[in-house]
Symmetry: C2
Subunit: 229 residues, 2 copies
Amino acid sequence: MIFRQLFDLASSTYTYILADSDGKEGVIIDPVMENVDRDFQILQELGIQLKWILDTHVHADHITAAAALKEKTGAKIGLGAGANVACADRLFQENEEISFGDYQLKVIATPGHTDSCTSYYLKGYCVFTGDTLLIRGCGRTDFQQGSSERLFQNVREKLFTLPDETLVYPAHDYKGRMASSIGEEKQFNPRLKLSNTKEQFIEIMKNLKLDYPKQIDRALPANLKCGKV
Amino acid sequence: MIFRQLFDLASSTYTYILADSDGKEGVIIDPVMENVDRDFQILQELGIQLKWILDTHVHADHITAAAALKEKTGAKIGLGAGANVACADRLFQENEEISFGDYQLKVIATPGHTDSCTSYYLKGYCVFTGDTLLIRGCGRTDFQQGSSERLFQNVREKLFTLPDETLVYPAHDYKGRMASSIGEEKQFNPRLKLSNTKEQFIEIMKNLKLDYPKQIDRALPANLKCGKV
């Protein structure tokens, strides 16, 4: 399998390219507008036929490259059910499978950071968790119909029930870490670890005192149009 | 196998942690002083018994965390033969094998960026190339007894003769890319691709017109003491 993790230095966003090394069918997860040339060059040089451009949610901190990459490659745009994104080709329901070559990503609905957050699970290997589960953290829940209660429940019931060795690939990290595992997060995530109760988690999230998201007024309207600005 | 790639945001340096998931013996490659707490925490949480702290060369753009990690873990410090680093526990000769658990890293001498640059090859999987071979680039050759001729020869004869599917993990990238492969670099590296001659490469390197390295006067003396400042 071809696997590439890529980083956007401005927003600390991770983008992922996955493809079957045989037929070269592939997907890209959470591409960032500013990196469209970089990412398109990689797709071309590796000979990948892009099938799907997937976003884990409607991002508020960067503009998606979905529309731009669709124009360049002809791939379809997908997000999770509930995303208010009319330009998407598909809004995936829970448990749907997204195929590329011999591989499948399973759709796991994990609202909480936003009301339509989605994780994509590559069975036996890794899960792309967006902002639902970060390395030793999680996304904020105070915008975009966020809910600490739903985030907690979805992480505990849907992500922490995956095998411990499943690698966790998030949409961001701010300390230069690129991957974790379900087993680690169950043990060491200061907010979501198994020894914390739901009430403790909700209290932690309530007291984060975060600034207003810098890019939200620019990014949200653009992302509801798949990044067409 | 446990594999973690980590990023230093200030110097764009990649650090790698490798360990056998059974016995948990491991190595760290190119650790950065500023991240010693982050990296030590990962080693502790994953239960890794660090055997070796390896630098691919005497870095000029950041201070190594070698001495600091040795103090915290008891691991030994290793670099390639020719490195003028008296505090190292070992200076590895070409073709030596560095063992951790059931795995071995093979030492490949790849001077050119500096006179003692070393690559570490994990057979059948990947190669850690330091500044010798970067993604679509290579390290400069105008300081630290660098030599464009030697860099070209070592890349062509020692790295480009590894299997095409070998993943390339460099010491830096400045565009958010994290890995490449030998096959890609043979085809797409604008400086070192197979269609370039040695003379073309030397000419490219001669005309780079790079600034004086910002951190060299601070980093080099510190790194000759394993980062003890």
